[in-house]
């Protein structure tokens, strides 16, 4: 992706608004945006919600950016539907709004979306799990550790992507839980953290202690699940796959806690976002989505030390060099 980036962006104001500024993923995003802004001479201000789900702070941040006369906003929305009217205000005021990581609902409420292809991320780990199990894939018992009961987009895409990659009929691809494949033991929610992962794994083991494959929404949930399995001595029987590619997660792959994980690139997302704002300030060009998709794909790689035939992957050494957090 080549924007006409030169040092002519001096004096251009930009805002980065993240869900929180404590989550390492967003810390990395801020790092990428700050470095790129410095390079181009863009004047960057960063804002964040107090906790994940705090949409009010994000609304206030957008309003500040409009008042500030910024040229563009990069936002990772906490409430993808609720933020839309405020985003519209910003666009009406002539700002370029780019959604990072999390698409708005509807996706075209923003001028552009720079994100990981979460469906692809899911497909990669699904295909890897099926290829690794080989003949055993058809009578595996599969559990899903999802994010929250409200089924946010990212949760649906990763979960359903895994099924597609594994070869499970997903029925409605926008809905988790309507599948009838007998290999599915069940779903439970983790809130994306260790404690939730452990509890959810314990609950699934209550349903069926013969589980052999676990799909997890992110690496903290995977680590929690591993704790639950270790406690009952079943960690050898279960293959855990995940999505994120944070440094602690990649280390867990090295140690064999997680079999494979799909790595995303938050630093890249933010850096490209700043470049796009600089280009827009210069001559009004807006970023174009990736061919055949309705967003700009910032790339995803499968990280594993046990490559499977037919599934492209990088090893943990490379994964550690590219990881975030």
């Amino acid at each position: 992706m080549a924007f006409a980036s030169s040092a002519s962006a001096a004096g251009v104001g930009a805002c980065l608004i993240t869900k929180t500024d404590t989550n390492p993923f967003f810390v990395k995003m801020k790092e990428g945006a700050t470095a790129k802004a410095k390079e181009l001479g863009v004047d960057l201000k960063t804002y964040a919600g107090k906790i994940d789900g705090d949409s009010e702070s994000q609304v206030a941040a957008i309003e500040s950016c409009i008042a500030d006369g910024a040229k563009g906003i990069l936002i990772t929305a906490s409430d993808t539907k609720g933020i839309v009217p405020t985003v519209k205000k910003a666009r009406d005021a002539g700002l370029l709004v780019i959604a990072l990581d999390t698409p708005l609902d509807p996706i075209d409420a923003a001028d552009a979306t720079f994100a990981t292809d979460n469906l692809e991320a899911g497909k990669l780990i699904g295909a890897w799990a099926a290829a690794t199990l080989g003949d055993k894939a058809k009578d595996a018992k599969i559990g899903f550790l999802d994010l929250t009961p409200s089924q946010p987009t990212v949760d649906v895409l990763r979960d359903q992507g895994f099924m597609m990659g594994y070869g499970i009929d997903v029925k409605d691809p926008n809905k988790i839980g309507d599948e009838t494949d007998p290999r599915i033991v069940g779903h439970d929610v983790t809130n994306g953290n260790e404690e939730g992962g452990r509890k959810a794994m314990e609950n699934l083991l209550q349903k069926d202690s013969g589980i052999t494959v676990i799909h997890t929404i992110n690496e903290p949930a995977a680590v929690g699940a591993y704790q639950a399995l270790k406690a009952v001595g079943l960690e050898k029987q279960v293959l855990i796959v995940s999505v994120d590619g944070g440094c602690p997660g990649v280390k867990s792959v090295t140690e064999g806690v997680i079999g494979a994980t799909s790595q995303q690139y938050p630093l890249q997302m933010a850096a490209l976002g700043i470049e796009a704002i600089a280009a827009f300030a210069k001559d009004g060009t807006k970023p174009k989505p990736t061919e055949g998709k309705n967003f700009f794909d910032t790339g995803v790689n499968l990280v594993t030390d046990k490559p499977a035939t037919g599934v492209k992957s990088i090893d943990t050494k490379e994964g550690l060099a590219k990881c975030w957090g």
Partner: protein, 353 residues
């Protein structure tokens, strides 16, 4: 005594009893009186009932010793935090900062052991001290500055949560690093199998801690002072209790117990994640306390009830999980239990009114 007058002879056959109350011993009154004198009875009855109901609905898989001990593992941390919360609520206070005190203590223990390479025993001690220090700050503000506990702990909740994120940069300390450098931090993960029942050291610690606190509250002077201060602070002061000292020790002890909960939680979760600060542990602990029959007006309730309260929430969540219900029903039912518990508490109080 010589009879002075002839007519006083009849006195010996007259009624000699003094004024007395008429006792209405209806069955309801008797139940009410029993519940009033044994505050842990209601939550115990509710607990047994919920186990029986889910046992019938789900069958042997729920009623197994494995499932029941798994519930104990899931509620151990809330049980310990609930015990700390109970102490504070008995003094008619409330501690909203208890959950984040636990998280920051865990983060401090982990960083001392893993990042700074201290001996694990020292790391645990520093973590416990940090929890006690947060509690002491609450105690000083409540007892000596005379600020309302709700306001004080609302403030320290925010302060401690932010400090936790600033100090840790929200970096998770990984399970394997803890195992390699400070296995002592995982002490409470040790488990024992008795048939199919699995008890972790964390579960045992929870029960033992509650029993110790029950003994202290009921059979030591300090314990009775806690109840007295909660029942009527002015009266307690007038009867010679050093109310400020009692309040200060209660909040400090609550902080220390929260730090102990941190040690147990490291055992359960393996890794140490500062993000846990956004989980509503404090509200879960208050929930266990309220369902356990501890009166928010102070001075009434048994700490055993709190443990039963935590178990009730655990049984209901696990039961609904195994029935395959939407997780929101769990939340809804918890709300119903809270209001029911307070309603019952008010009804029981009428016995003494």
């Amino acid at each position: 005594m010589a009879q002075a007058q002839e007519f006083e002879k009849v006195l010996s056959s007259s009624d000699t009893s003094v004024a007395a109350f008429d006792e209405h011993k209806s069955a309801v009154k008797r139940i009410q009186h029993f519940l009033h004198s044994t505050p842990a009875a209601v939550p115990l009855i509710v607990l047994v009932l919920s186990i029986v109901i889910f046992g019938i609905a789900i069958g042997g898989r729920f009623f197994s010793s494995y499932t029941l001990t798994l519930i104990l593992q899931q509620i151990a941390i809330i049980g310990i935090l609930g015990a700390a919360q109970t102490l504070v609520i008995l003094t008619a206070g409330i501690d909203l900062s208890i959950g984040v005190i636990m998280v920051i203590s865990a983060v401090i223990m982990g960083n001392c052991a893993v990042s700074y390479g201290m001996p694990a025993i020292l790391a645990v001690t520093i973590g416990l001290a940090a929890g006690a220090a947060c509690g002491l700050l609450n105690g000083l503000l409540v007892a000596y500055m005379k600020l309302p506990p709700f306001i004080v702990t609302l403030g320290t909740w925010n302060i401690v949560m932010a400090t936790n994120f600033i100090y840790s940069a929200n970096e998770t300390i990984r399970d394997t690093d803890v195992d390699a450098q400070a296995p002592l931090l995982h002490l409470f993960a040790l488990s024992f199998k008795i048939g199919t029942a699995v008890l972790t050291l964390g579960v045992i610690a929870t029960v033992v801690l509650v029993l110790i606190l029950w003994y202290v509250l009921n059979h030591t002077a300090w314990g009775r002072h806690v109840y007295a201060v909660g029942d009527d602070q002015e009266a307690a002061k007038l009867s010679g209790i050093q109310t400020k000292k009692v309040l200060m020790t209660v909040y400090t002890l609550a902080g220390l117990i929260a730090a102990f909960a941190a040690w147990v939680s490291i055992g359960r979760n393996g890794s140490i994640s500062p993000s846990a600060a956004v989980t509503d542990y404090n509200l879960q602990a208050i929930t266990a306390t309220v369902i356990g029959g501890i009166s928010l007006f102070g001075g009434r309730g048994s700490i055993l009830g709190t443990l039963f309260g935590a178990m009730i929430v655990g049984v209901v969540s696990m039961g609904l999980n195994m029935l395959g219900a939407d997780p929101q029903w769990k939340v809804l039912l918890t709300g119903v239990l809270i209001i029911g518990a307070v309603a019952i508490d008010q009804w029981i109080r009428k016995v003494s009114a």
